[in-house]
């Protein structure tokens, strides 16, 4: 079976959970070891680049810290799938080129399911359950920013 595993988290996963306050003064490499540690002791140690995160409602709420989406991107998270995203996190993720996918039926995913995504077609596949999910792929400016790898790279390319 192809695809990479997903890690399931609940509703209202705030940015204090993704990167607790006390680690924000650390250099990025050190910070990464603490990603989501209040929610899962194994995530930062065992996740592999290309893995997916599945959240519920209001993923990324709370503090504006861009270190939260940045840590997930640096760890190589392929995409975050959730019912809804908090607004600052949503904007930060676009700016750094981290893929967010809104899907209402996130309860159908189980911890460890193998997922595959085709961004262009807006198609997410759960290889474990053989179910397919459609989502709105990024369009317009957001698509251009995403394909460039982030807002700054997008602006650089336009120079």
């Amino acid at each position: 079976m192809s695809g990479q595993r997903c890690w399931i988290f609940g509703d209202n996963i705030d940015t204090d959970q993704i990167m607790p306050s006390q680690y924000l003064v650390l250099p990025m490499d050190e910070m990464l070891k603490h990603t989501l540690e209040t929610q899962s002791e194994s995530f930062a140690k065992q996740m592999e680049a290309g893995d997916f995160i599945v959240g519920g409602e209001n993923f990324g709420c709370g503090s504006s810290r861009e270190q939260a989406p940045l840590a997930l991107k640096k760890l190589g998270v392929r995409a975050i799938i959730a019912k809804s995203f908090a607004r600052i996190f949503f904007r930060n993720a676009i700016n750094i080129g981290l893929l967010l996918i809104e899907i209402p039926s996130v309860e159908e995913f189980s911890e460890g399911d193998l997922l595959e995504v085709n961004v262009k077609e807006g198609l997410l596949k759960d290889a474990t359950t053989s179910k397919n999910y459609n989502f709105f792929p990024p369009t317009g400016l957001v698509k251009d920013i995403f394909e460039s790898g982030g807002l700054i790279q997008y602006l650089d390319n336009k120079k």
Binding site: Q17, S64, I88, N92, I152
Partner: protein, 421 residues
Amino acid sequence: MGMTLVEKILARHSGEKKVEPGQFLTIDVDYCMANDATMRLNIDVVENTLKATKLWDPSKIVLVMDHQVPSDSVLTAQVHEMSKKFADKYGIAAYYNGEGICHQLMVEKYLLPGQIMVAADSHSPSMGALGAVGLGMGSTDVGATMVAGKTWVKVPQSVLVVLKGQLPQAVYAKDIILAMIGKTTAGGLIYKAVEFQGDAVSKFSVSERFTLCNMATEAGVKTAIVAPDEKVVDYLQKERGVSVPLESWMLSDSDAKFEQTIEIDLSKLTPQVACPHSVDNVCDVSKIAGLKIDQAFIGACTNARIDDLRIVAQVLKGNKVNPNVKMDITPASRTIYLQAIQEGLIEIFLEAGARINHPGCSTCWGACQGVLGPGQVLISTQNRNFRGRAGSKDSSVYLASPRTVAYSAIKGFVTDPREGI
């Protein structure tokens, strides 16, 4: 069709006559603010990613060291030092270290009605207390704003919150906003602009409006506002010596479109508490009365202004903090701290056995001043009770008004503040 106040402010900063929800705008901002919580990353964005040699307008950029002051570790000291060097290099005069919490300083020193602030902090909607728009963003957006003086926004849908009737005794603005979040849920107002209206609001001080707008953040809002009125004009005159006439456009049109209206009957409201580990896990204080606490905190941008401290002093005067409880009080700014000293409030706090911290984010940041250990329970006037927010991931935080926190500190357990009346 008319426009809401937030729509009007966004329109005026984008050069558009009329704007509608969903529309994308490029706006000029009046102020850009950042603080020590994310300065390491902000500096990296400006210097290494954007490779900026100069900033938009250094007189409009404000840097506030408030999350970890005085520095509590070598790493924090380094962040403060690199922020000071950054300020000096780019000619930013407004660098503060120990002056108070960033949002409090922006209201005490900078923002005016109708203006826009972009800041690297989620509680930016606090600017609504003056009838201004505060927008919280991350480091890439804030770095770009520091360089360009502009940013993009999607015009949000507006939500009207009408506060009807008058508050009973021992019930405060904090209880109103806790009750509202209990109703809307933590993600219920994602990307909306909230406007508070009603007779009660027009009687509220700038400080009480600050509490409402500040904590509206926890419902997911993009911004929050109270239309400026004589209370704001008087505040600016008295506290800042600034004379600002009210302009006729500074309110929502009578035919403005609000996506939804939330009504809250204040006369029936009781003291509220948000229980661990979510801001929308709200109940009447009587439901958890008697729960043993280890620590009590009066502070944070939500509730640490002079009116809050006076309420606490009223409760603590002649009483002692329970021997099983550690009570920390952190005024929101140096100005407030000084006023509290002059009014004799600090003396009352010290005699009661409370500990006083220098102004800053303090316990609410969970990385300095009064951090919690595993299993400990905190009751606090702050705005967040996320898991681990004030220290250990195995600690618990309950959110309440200053009066509820002060009574609980004396008793040693969560206490209904109406008992003392």
